[in-house]
């Protein structure tokens, strides 16, 4: 019931065609696009949750996802503008978006408690995966100090989200 986009694997394909040793190192414009896309995806999931769920705890969680990810993406947009960087679409962000679209379609067919559990379980898995990718790939690869700092703040935030989602999932059992 959770979506299984392979962010780690996809990150390694960012530089498809490049020598193997450099394949896992996305550029700053690619990292910016991946991070922004990840935020857009969770905002869309949160909006879907607000439209479908009547559970107070689930709705509160969704509102927080929308608020926090909008704030991070706003900060990211301001940063790339300041740095004169154009976020670069890449296979990782495309894979993220494709899997997210499939998940939204699947969740749109669910109702009530079944929907709530599926949404929250997906949020746990999503944040776990994104956090792993941030920690192991995106933050180490970021060259610009301000981008790296924003990603690190994002990681602290998304760890909170993961813990929050895990708590809600527990409460829904």
């Amino acid at each position: 019931m959770i979506y299984k986009f392979a962010l780690f694997t996809a990150a390694a394909t960012v530089m498809a065609g490049a020598p193997a040793a450099a394949a896992a190192a996305p550029s700053d414009p690619q990292i910016a696009h991946i991070a922004y896309t990840a935020g857009v995806i969770d905002i869309a999931a949160g909006r879907q949750a607000l439209a479908r769920s009547h559970n107070r705890e689930v709705r509160s969680f969704a509102q927080q996802m929308i608020r926090d990810h909008q704030a991070v993406n706003g900060k990211a947009l301001a940063l790339v503008k300041k740095l004169h960087v154009t976020p670069a679409p890449n296979p990782t962000s495309a894979s993220l978006q494709k899997d997210a679209n499939a998940t939204l379609r699947r969740l749109s067919r669910l109702h009530g408690r079944t929907y709530d559990r599926a949404y929250i379980n997906n949020e746990v898995a999503y944040h776990r995966t994104v956090n792993g990718a941030l920690e192991s790939t995106l933050i180490p690869a970021a060259k610009n100090g301000e981008l790296k700092s924003l990603l690190q703040t994002g990681l602290s935030l998304f760890r909170e989200h993961q813990a929050h989602a895990e708590q809600v999932a527990k409460d829904l059992k």
């Binding site: 927080q64 608020r67 926090d68 704030a71 991070v72 706003g74 900060k75 700092s149 690190q152 703040t153 602290s156 935030l157 760890r159 909170e160 813990a163 929050h164």
Partner: protein, 107 residues
């Protein structure tokens, strides 16, 4: 990181301190929130002192005391003031991000 400022809370407070050295003039201390963290908390707090919480983050935060003695909401780049009314060790948490925690010790 700690910015500590003595603020005379009432006109003539300085003179009051001079005349009555045993009476402590309330101080105002600043706790900065940035990058998903509370900055260091003051170590010499007394009842009547105030904390000004400054949220320099781009995220919404809060400071909520475990004993319910204060509860401030801090939208991005805002500040709020709390007067410490009672003694004790007071854990506090960000209501939006419960992993963000701190403790005030008020004597």
């Amino acid at each position: 990181m700690r910015l500590r400022r003595s603020i005379v809370l009432a006109a003539g407070g300085g003179a009051l301190l001079s005349a009555c050295p045993a009476m402590a003039v309330p101080h105002t201390y600043i706790v900065v929130i940035d990058k998903m963290k509370f900055g260091p908390t003051p170590s010499q707090l007394r009842t009547g002192d105030a904390i000004v919480w400054i949220n320099r983050d781009f995220l919404r935060h809060g400071a909520t005391a475990a004993d319910h003695s204060f509860n401030v909401d801090l939208p991005p780049r805002t500040k709020a003031r709390t007067v410490l009314a009672k003694r004790g060790t007071i854990p506090f948490v960000c209501r939006y991000h419960p992993g963000m925690r701190g403790t005030l010790v008020v004597k």
